[in-house]
Symmetry: C2
C-alpha cells in the first residue's frame, strides 16, 4: 500500500504549536519525553491542521503501532457461542477506539500454542501492548513477558498466577461464596459444578473456593471439568446425574455449558428447577432467553474490557500501574433455581 | 519494543534455498516477483532454519503488515449478542492464522463513521487488505476503495452495491424464497418481517425479494426495520401484533431479534407456533436453546469468514480475483413454525 504524503509536515505542527520537532514526534507517537500538557496541545494543533494522529505517528516513526495484541486458542465453534469473549472484545475495542488504537486479534486452534505469536510481537513491535487471558498455572507467557519488562502487558487473571505482571482480577472467591450461600439457603446439601478447563488459573481459583465454601457449610460437592463447549456441558451433566445420589444443583462455568446442561436434564425427564437447580457463571442474553430463565452470576464484561485499556495506555506512556479489581459479581436469581428436592421428603 | 536480532540472516536462507537475497525478501513478504514454487521453497527453508516468516518479513521490510483490517460500527451491547459477527471473526481468524496473518479489529459506536479509519489504513499501510461488511446503498467506503485500486479489499455484500470491488455474496434472494415458500405451504397468507437497518444493501435486497415472492404467492406482507438489538425485535413485534389483522408469521433478520420476538409474543399471551410462527434469519446456538426451538435459515458463517481470506491473499500477491458466492442457505424447521391459524376456521 502506498504511503500518501501528508500535506502538513512535522515542522508545520511544531511551529504552530510553538514546540520542537522532537516534541511533536514524541507526542504523536504516544511516547514519554513530553508533558501531558504539551502532548494535548500538539494533538490539538495537529488535528486542527487536518493531520490525524494515527497516520502522523506512522509517518514519523515505526515505534508505535497503535495496536494491542490478543491471541486466543479456541475452536471456531466454541468461540462463536462464547458470549464472554465477544463482550470482552467489544468493551476493549470501544475504549481503544477513543484512543485511536486497534485490537490485533489472533485465534489459533484449540490446543495450539500462542507462544510463537507472542515472541513475534515482542520481536517485531507490531503491537504496543498485549492482553493475556485464560492464564494457566505455570503459564510460559507469564515467564516470557517477565523477561521483557519493556512490553506493556495486562493479564486478566488472579495475581497468584501472573508473577507480578500488571493484572486485572475478578473476585471469583466472593462470587463462589455468593452462589454456595444462595444454594445453601435454598436447602441444597449436595451440589456439583461443571467447570472450565482445569489448567486455567481462574478455574483453579474457583475450584478451591467451591471446595472451601461447601466444606464450611457442610455440603457435599462434586466437580467435573469441560472446555466451555455445549457438548462438554451436556456430557458432564449426564455423568453427574448418573450417580446413584445425584446433586440437586449444578453450577456451570459458562452460559453455553449451562444451557446444554438444561437441555440434557429436560431430555432425561429431570425437572428444572423442581429436581435440579441450575446456575450459570456469567450472565448473557441466552440465559434470559431460555425457559426457565437461568439464575446467573452477572458481571459487566464490556466494562472489564474497557477497564484494562488505560492500564495498557499508561504503561505505553512509561508509567507503572497497580493491579486492579473488576466490578464485583452480582447473583441474578431466575426460574432455574428453587428449594432443594429432598428424596422421600417434603420440600 | 526492542527488535530482537535473528540468528539467521537473509543470506543464510538464500544460500540454503539456492535463490537470490531479493527472492527471499519477496517470498517472506508475500509480495509478487517470485514464483509460487520458489516462495514455498523459501518459506520451507526459512522455517527449517528456525526463522518465522512473520518477524522475518517485518525485519526485511515494512511493506507488509500481515494484518487485515475490519472496522464495524456497533454498540457494545448489540455486538455482544451478535452471533453472526463472532462466527465471522472466528472463521476469518482461523484462516488468517494458517497464513500467519492477524485481524486488525476496530469497533466504533453505532451511528459513527468508519471513514477516517479506512483513510488511515490506506495512508499508513497498517493493514495489507480490508474487509467491508454492512455495505450501505451509496456507501462512501466503496467510492474510497475504488479510488485506491492498489488496496486489496473484499466486500461482504451484493455486487449491486459494491461498484465492481471484489465481493463475497450470500444468495439472499434464494433464501427469501425458501422462507416464503415454506410459510406458504403451511397455509400462511399474511406474513411480516422484522428486518435489519434499511440503509444496508443486504437488507434492501431481502426487502425486495420478500415483496416480490409474497406478491407472486398472493400473500399479504408487512415489514418494519430494526437495528438487530433485542429491544428493536421486541418493539417491532409488539407493533406488528397490534394491527387489527396481525400477521400469522414473522421472519426476523437476526436471531437476537427473533428471540426477543418470541419473548414478546409469550408475554402477550400469543401462543407460538399455534397463533404465530417465528423464523430466524441466521441460525445459532440460541435458536436451538429456546422453547420452542426457532425455525432458522442456516448458513456456515465461519466458512464464509474463511472463504474471504484467500480472496484477499491472492490480491495481496498481485492477482485479480472474481466475485464469489457463499455456500447456500438451508432452512432448518423447528418448533416455532406450524400451519397458519385461520381466524374462526379450522386448521
Amino acid at each position: 500500500m502506498a504511503l500518501l504524503k501528508s500535506k502538513v509536515t512535522i515542522s508545520d505542527v511544531a511551529k504552530a504549536a510553538g514546540v520542537s520537532n522532537s516534541a511533536v514526534s514524541y507526542a504523536l507517537n504516544g511516547k514519554p519525553g513530553v508533558s501531558e500538557k504539551t502532548r494535548d496541545k500538539v494533538l490539538k494543533v495537529a488535528d486542527s491542521m487536518g493531520w490525524k494522529p494515527n497516520s502522523a505517528a506512522k509517518a514519523l516513526s515505526d515505534a508505535s503501532s497503535r495496536a494491542i495484541g490478543l491471541a486466543l486458542a479456541y475452536s471456531p465453534e466454541t468461540i462463536s457461542v462464547d458470549s464472554y469473549s465477544m463482550a470482552l472484545f467489544s468493551g476493549m475495542c470501544t475504549e481503544l477506539e477513543r484512543n485511536n488504537y486497534s485490537l490485533m486479534l489472533r485465534i489459533i486452534p484449540v490446543g495450539g500454542d500462542t507462544m510463537s505469536i507472542h515472541r513475534d510481537w515482542i520481536a517485531d513491535g507490531s503491537v504496543d501492548g498485549v492482553v493475556i487471558t485464560n492464564v494457566e498455572i505455570g503459564d510460559p507467557r507469564i515467564e516470557l513477558y517477565k523477561q521483557h519488562p519493556e512490553v506493556p502487558v495486562v493479564a486478566l487473571a488472579d495475581p497468584s498466577v501472573t508473577g507480578g505482571l500488571p493484572t486485572l482480577t475478578s473476585d471469583d472467591v466472593a462470587a463462589a461464596r455468593l452462589v454456595v450461600d444462595f444454594l445453601h439457603e435454598l436447602g441444597h446439601t449436595h451440589i456439583a459444578r461443571v467447570a472450565g478447563p482445569e489448567r486455567y488459573g481462574h478455574t483453579f481459583g474457583r475450584d478451591r473456593a467451591f471446595i472451601e465454601e461447601t466444606s464450611e457449610m457442610g455440603m457435599h460437592y462434586d466437580c467435573l471439568h469441560g472446555d466451555y463447549s455445549p457438548e462438554a456441558g451436556a456430557d458432564c451433566t449426564a455423568r453427574l446425574m448418573a450417580f446413584s445420589e445425584p446433586p440437586t444443583a449444578i453450577v456451570y462455568d459458562s452460559d453455553s455449558m449451562a444451557i446444554a446442561g438444561l437441555q440434557t436434564a429436560v431430555a432425561k425427564g429431570i425437572a428444572v428447577p423442581e429436581q435440579l437447580s441450575i446456575v450459570s457463571w456469567d450472565d448473557s442474553f441466552v440465559c434470559r432467553a431460555v425457559t426457565p430463565g437461568l439464575t446467573a452470576l452477572k458481571r459487566n464484561v464490556p466494562a472489564s474490557g474497557k477497564q484494562l485499556v488505560p492500564m495498557l495506555l499508561r504503561q505505553i506512556a512509561g508509567e507503572q500501574v497497580e493491579n486492579e479489581l473488576e466490578d464485583p459479581y452480582e447473583l441474578i436469581p431466575r426460574g432455574s433455581t428453587a428449594a432443594a428436592c429432598v428424596p422421600g421428603g417434603v420440600r
